[in-house]
């Protein structure tokens, strides 16, 4: 079956990451509430992290930590790619900083005018 082979070729982690990115993108573009826009950015970022992680995963291999499952001699043939994991660690921390800043700008905007809808700021509307 052609369709079954096609579905079998999908990487489930990358696919869920892509779906989460699209949900976040929809939230950023279509929601009027600025707090929801900030949260949608955070959701999109989670999807990007999943996608980066899925690139370094190798089926049947173990985490890049030396223990009884893989020692220093067999590391290169038994472990997954550690570079995307290190990059995602950085990406999560930067994402947290960006989300905190976005939310505090949202709080300030809400305190400045009534409501938290982006429609209240004409110059931001498209």
């Amino acid at each position: 079956m052609n369709i079954l082979a096609l579905i079998g070729a999908i990487n489930p982690v990358a696919a869920s990451g892509a779906v989460v990115i699209l949900i976040g993108l929809w939230g950023v573009l279509a929601r009027p509430n600025i707090f929801k826009i900030a949260i949608a950015f955070s959701i999109m970022e989670t999807g990007v992290n999943l996608l980066i992680l899925s690139v370094g995963y190798i089926r049947g291999r173990t985490a890049p930590i030396l223990d009884s499952a893989a020692d220093a001699a067999t590391a290169t043939i038994k472990m997954t790619d550690p570079v995307p994991q290190a990059l995602v660690l950085t990406s999560i921390v930067i994402g947290l900083a960006v989300t905190a800043l976005m939310l505090s700008y949202a709080v300030r905007l809400k305190a400045g005018k009534d409501g938290s809808s982006i429609e209240a700021w004409g110059e931001e509307k498209w």
């Binding site: 070729a9 996608l51 890049p64 220093a72 400045g112």
Partner: protein, 232 residues
């Protein structure tokens, strides 16, 4: 109407851009050259059991220093944006509703355990999954519980900035020691690297990850305190 069409087009375009990755991610059956070199060299170079820690703290240590600087800048930004004056709060707040007995008692029980767990995570960063950032976040959850349990209270600002600046200075100091005593800035081989799997091993990596943990814990606590929105 126009907006809905444009949003749909943007999402479909992104979906097509992501489609090849969904099929190709994870298909190679061996890590690339750089990753193989890291996997092979890091146990010999630094005696770290956790290869990701070796990459984050030493091979790409300069990135991590920049990352900590970004987190500091964000903390400063949040603190500057969310003060009572800037939010237009002039009158003092009405007294806050006290938290429930359950939350208060649980907080007293859990605070010390959470801080201990956070310290455990960042001290063992070179041996187990985890490290400075994860441990710092666990410590910040203890601060969050305390802020929830006594809504009128504040994090001691002077203590937090002292912890933050001292650990930042210690981090850069360890990096400079690496430049003078070992092979480069942030090289962990200023201390003996020891044996793989021992708590005291991997040179200065546990020390660097501990100061990162303290710094991240202090910064996130400051962000949580500022996000309450009633700081002077």
């Amino acid at each position: 109407m126009m907006r809905k069409v444009l949003v749909t087009l943007a999402i479909i375009g992104f979906a097509f851009a992501l489609l090849p990755m969904v099929f190709e991610a994870g298909t190679p059956d061996a890590p690339g050259g750089l990753a193989s070199a890291y996997l092979e060299k890091s146990p010999q170079d630094f005696a770290t059991a956790n290869v990701v820690t070796a990459i984050v703290v030493s091979y790409r240590g300069f990135d991590t220093l920049g990352e900590v600087a970004v987190l500091f800048a964000a903390t400063a930004g949040v603190g500057a944006l969310l003060t009572r004056k800037r939010l237009g709060l002039t009158e003092p707040d009405a007294p806050k509703t006290p938290s429930t007995e359950i939350l208060y008692t649980a907080t007293n029980l859990l605070t010390s355990l959470l801080v201990m767990f956070g310290v455990y995570i960042f001290i063992h960063g070179h041996l187990t999954p985890g490290g400075g950032f994860q441990g710092g976040v666990v410590i910040a959850t203890a601060v969050l519980l305390n802020l929830l349990a006594s809504p009128g209270s504040h994090v001691a600002h002077s203590v937090m900035s002292a912890v933050e600046s001292l650990s930042g200075a210690f981090y850069v100091g360890l990096g400079l020691l690496g430049a003078f005593l070992a092979w480069g800035f942030l090289d962990p081989r200023v201390l003996p690297i020891g044996k793989i799997g021992a708590l005291v091993s991997a040179g200065s990596i546990p020390l660097i990850y501990s100061v990162i943990g303290l710094k991240v814990g202090a910064e996130l606590s400051a962000i949580l305190d500022a996000l309450k929105g009633d700081r002077e």
